[in-house]
Amino acid sequence: MNAQEMRDRLRDFVRSELLRKPDYPLAADEPLITGGLIDSFALAQIGVFVEDAFGVYLPDTDLTVANMDTIEQMVTCILKARP
C-alpha cells in the first residue's frame, strides 16, 4: 500500500470512528490531539487500527502526541515501522 492510500484510510478512520463526523474536512497536517479534535486515549485505538488495516505494529513507545498528532505524522510513523 502506498502512502496516499494509507493517508486516505487513516483519514476515513479518524473521521468516522474517532471524530464521528464522516464529512469533516480534515487536512492531513491538521493537529488532531493538540488541536482538540481527538483525545489522547484514542492513540491506543489508532495503534490497533494500524495493525489491523496495514499489518504494521507500532510499539507503544511510538504512540505519543509528538509522533501521531496529524495524519501525515501517522503515515511517517507507519512507514518507518514497516518491516
Partner: protein, 562 residues
C-alpha cells in the same frame, strides 16, 4: 484486617513496617520501558526521610503546604511521604501532559501556590527555572528533585507526631474552579477510610493492589497509594500515560504480580476491552483479580463488555464490584458487599427522569433501563437522599445524595465560605442525584452542572470562560455540558456558542478550531461536539443567565446526541 485501628498519623504504620519488616517489598514501579523497580519497606521510609530532611533544613515546618509538580515516579512517592514525614501538608499537582500549553500550565501552579499559601514546591528539574521566575517575590521555595541527597538511611530526626485531627494532605481537581477548592483531609479521616473501606473489601496483607490511576486524582492517591502503604498491602504502580496508550500493561502486571485489586473509572472498562490485543493476553491468568468500578457513573454495559472480553482469562462476574464516593469523603462511602455482584435495578426511565421515582420494571419492558448499584454504606458512613428543601426522601425517590461519615474532609482549605455551601449539620451535600433501594445506593445523575470525563471533574464555567475569549464568539454566549457517550463509557463534552456572522462559513470553521485548540491546551478536555449557532439560539433563564440544562436538552433534541 488489623489496618489503621490504632494509628494516629499516616506515617506511623509506614515507620513501624520499616522497623518490623524492613525487607518486605512495599512498592513495585513499572517503568514506561517495562522495567521494574522494587522498593522495600525500609527503603521507602528512608527515601521519605531524605525529602523530609531537605525540607526541614530549608525551614519548612509542620503544617506548611508543599506542592508537588512531578511525574508519576518513585520521586513523587518519596516527596509525598517526605512531606508527611515532616508533618507538612502535601498536595500533588497534575503533571504536564503533551497536550497542555506549558506556560499556561506553569501559571496554574502559581495560582495554586497563591490560593493555598504554599511554602514549598518540589518539581522535576525541567520546571525549576520557569517556576523560579514566576514565583519571584513569593514566600515559597522551589526544590528540584535532583537537589535531594540520597542518603537512603532512615537516620536523623524521627517522623513528626501530628495530632490525628490535623490536616494530612490536600486534594485539588484541576481547572480554575478546582484549584480554589483544596479538599483538606485529616489523618483521622484517612485512617478511618482505610479501616472502613478496607473492611468493606476485606483488604488483607495478602492482597496486591495494581494501579495506574494518577496520584493527583483521589482514586489514585488514596486507593492507589495511601491505603496500601498504610495497610501494608503491596502496591504495583503503572504510569497513567503508559496505561492509556498501552492498556495491556495492566493485565500483564496483574498476572505477573498475582494482583488482587484494581480500581478503574468506568471509561477504563471500555478502553481495555477495545484496545488490548489477544496475543498480548496469551497465558494471562486473571482469576485472583477483583476490579472495582469507581470515579464516574457506572454503566452496566461497560461491565458486560469487560466480562465478555476478559472472562476467558479467568475473570469472573463476582470479580467486578462498584464503589461510590468523592474526595470530600476521602474516597469511598459505599461498596458492593464482598462476594456479591453489583445489584442491577431495572427501572422505568421516564418515571426516573420526569417524576424522580425509580419504579421497578422488567428488562424486557419498553422504556426500561438498568441501574447498577454502588452497594451499601461502608462502616462509619451513612447515606441519605433529600429533596430540594433538604427533607429526607423515602426509598426509590430520586434526590440529592447526602453523606455523613467519619472520613469526611475538614473543609476546603482556607475557604470556609465554600464549606457552608456543602456542609449542613454534619452532612455533606454531594451534588449527585440518586436513590436508595433495599439500602443500596443508585446514582442517577448530577444536581449541579459538573461534567465527569474519564473520572476527571470538569467545571463548565471554566470551559465557558475560555470560549468567551475566543474571537468571534459572542461574549457570555457559550455553554458547556456533558452528554452520555455509551461507546467510550463516559461523558462527552459539548459546547454551544453563539457567533457573529453566518454559520457554516470559513469564519466559523476558524472559530471552532481556535476554540477546540484553546480548550485542549488549557484544560486537556477534548470537545466531542462544537455547535456554532446564530444569535438567539441559546436559552436564558428569567434572570438572564444561560441555562445549561435547558440548552443541553435543546441540543439533544435537535442534534440527536452522540
Amino acid at each position: 484486617m488489623t489496618v489503621g485501628l490504632d494509628y494516629r498519623t499516616l506515617i506511623e504504620p509506614v515507620t513501624e513496617r520499616a522497623r518490623r519488616d524492613p525487607d518486605r517489598p512495599s512498592v513495585v514501579l513499572i517503568g514506561e520501558d517495562g522495567s521494574e523497580e522494587t522498593v522495600t519497606a525500609a527503603q521507602f521510609l528512608a527515601n521519605a526521610a531524605d525529602y523530609a530532611a531537605v525540607l526541614r533544613a530549608a525551614g519548612i515546618r509542620p503544617r506548611d503546604i508543599v506542592i508537588l509538580v512531578m511525574r508519576h515516579s518513585k520521586e513523587l512517592l518519596s516527596a509525598f511521604w517526605g512531606a508527611l514525614y515532616l508533618g507538612a501538608i502535601p498536595s500533588i499537582f497534575p503533571f504536564l501532559s503533551e497536550k497542555l500549553d506549558r506556560s499556561l500550565y506553569v501559571q496554574q501552579v502559581r495560582i495554586l501556590v497563591a490560593h493555598c499559601r504554599a511554602r514549598a514546591v518540589i518539581a522535576f528539574p525541567q520546571f525549576k527555572p520557569d517556576l523560579a521566575a514566576l514565583l519571584e517575590g513569593v514566600d515559597c521555595q522551589i526544590f528540584a528533585t535532583d537537589e535531594v541527597p540520597r542518603r537512603a538511611a532512615a537516620e536523623g530526626q524521627p517522623p513528626h507526631e501530628a495530632m490525628p485531627e490535623t490536616v494530612a494532605l490536600l486534594q485539588h481537581s484541576s481547572g480554575s474552579t478546582g484549584l480554589q477548592k483544596g479538599v483538606a483531609l485529616s489523618h483521622r479521616a484517612i485512617l478511618n477510610q482505610v479501616r472502613g473501606y478496607g473492611r468493606a473489601v476485606a483488604l488483607s496483607e495478602s492482597d496486591v493492589i495494581v494501579s495506574w490511576m494518577p496520584l493527583y486524582h483521589d482514586g489514585g492517591l488514596i486507593a492507589g497509594c495511601v491505603m496500601p502503604l498504610v495497610a501494608g498491602v503491596r502496591l504495583v504502580l503503572i504510569s497513567p500515560f503508559h496505561w492509556v496508550r498501552d492498556p495491556k500493561v495492566l493485565f500483564q502486571a496483574v498476572h505477573r504480580h498475582r494482583g488482587t485489586l484494581t480500581w478503574l473509572p468506568n471509561f477504563a472498562f471500555n478502553h481495555c476491552a477495545r484496545n488490548v490485543r489477544d496475543r498480548d493476553l496469551v497465558g494471562v491468568d486473571l482469576s485472583c483479580w477483583r476490579v472495582i468500578n469507581a470515579a464516574e457513573p457506572v454503566r452496566w454495559d461497560s461491565h458486560r463488555l469487560f466480562l465478555e472480553r476478559f472472562g476467558r482469562y479467568g475473570l469472573t462476574e463476582r470479580a467486578l464490584a462498584v464503589a461510590y464516593g468523592m474526595a470530600e469523603a476521602t474516597l469511598f462511602v459505599t461498596a458492593t458487599p464482598i462476594d456479591e455482584s453489583p445489584h442491577v435495578d431495572w427501572v422505568e426511565i421516564r418515571a426516573l427522569q420526569e417524576e424522580r421515582r425509580a419504579l421497578p420494571a422488567t428488562p424486557e419492558a419498553a422504556g426500561s433501563a438498568p441501574m447498577t448499584s454502588c452497594g451499601l454504606p461502608i462502616e462509619g458512613a451513612e447515606i441519605g437522599t433529600v429533596d430540594d428543601e433538604g427533607r429526607r426522601l423515602p426509598e426509590r425517590w430520586v434526590g440529592e445524595i447526602v453523606v455523613r461519615a467519619d472520613c469526611l474532609f475538614s473543609g476546603y482549605y482556607l475557604r470556609p465560605d465554600l464549606d457552608a455551601k456543602v456542609l449542613r449539620d454534619g452532612w455533606y451535600f454531594t451534588g449527585d442525584m440518586g436513590y436508595l433501594a433495599d439500602g443500596q445506593l443508585y446514582v442517577s445523575g448530577r444536581k449541579n452542572d459538573l461534567i465527569i470525563v474519564g473520572g476527571k471533574n470538569v467545571y463548565p464555567n471554566d470551559l465557558e470562560a475560555i470560549a468567551n475569549e475566543v474571537p468571534g464568539v459572542r461574549p457570555g454566549r457559550a455553554v458547556a455540558f456533558g452528554v452520555p457517550d455509551p461507546r467510550l463509557g463516559t461523558e462527552a463534552v459539548v459546547m454551544v456558542c453563539e457567533v457573529n456572522g453566518s454559520t457554516g462559513s470559513d469564519e466559523t470553521r476558524r472559530i471552532e478550531s481556535e476554540l477546540r485548540r484553546r480548550i485542549a491546551q488549557q484544560t486537556e478536555v477534548t470537545l466531542h461536539d462544537v455547535r456554532l449557532m446564530d444569535t438567539r439560539w441559546l436559552i436564558k433563564t428569567s434572570s438572564g443567565k444561560l441555562a445549561r440544562t435547558a440548552n443541553r436538552e435543546k441540543y439533544l433534541r435537535e442534534q440527536g446526541g452522540p
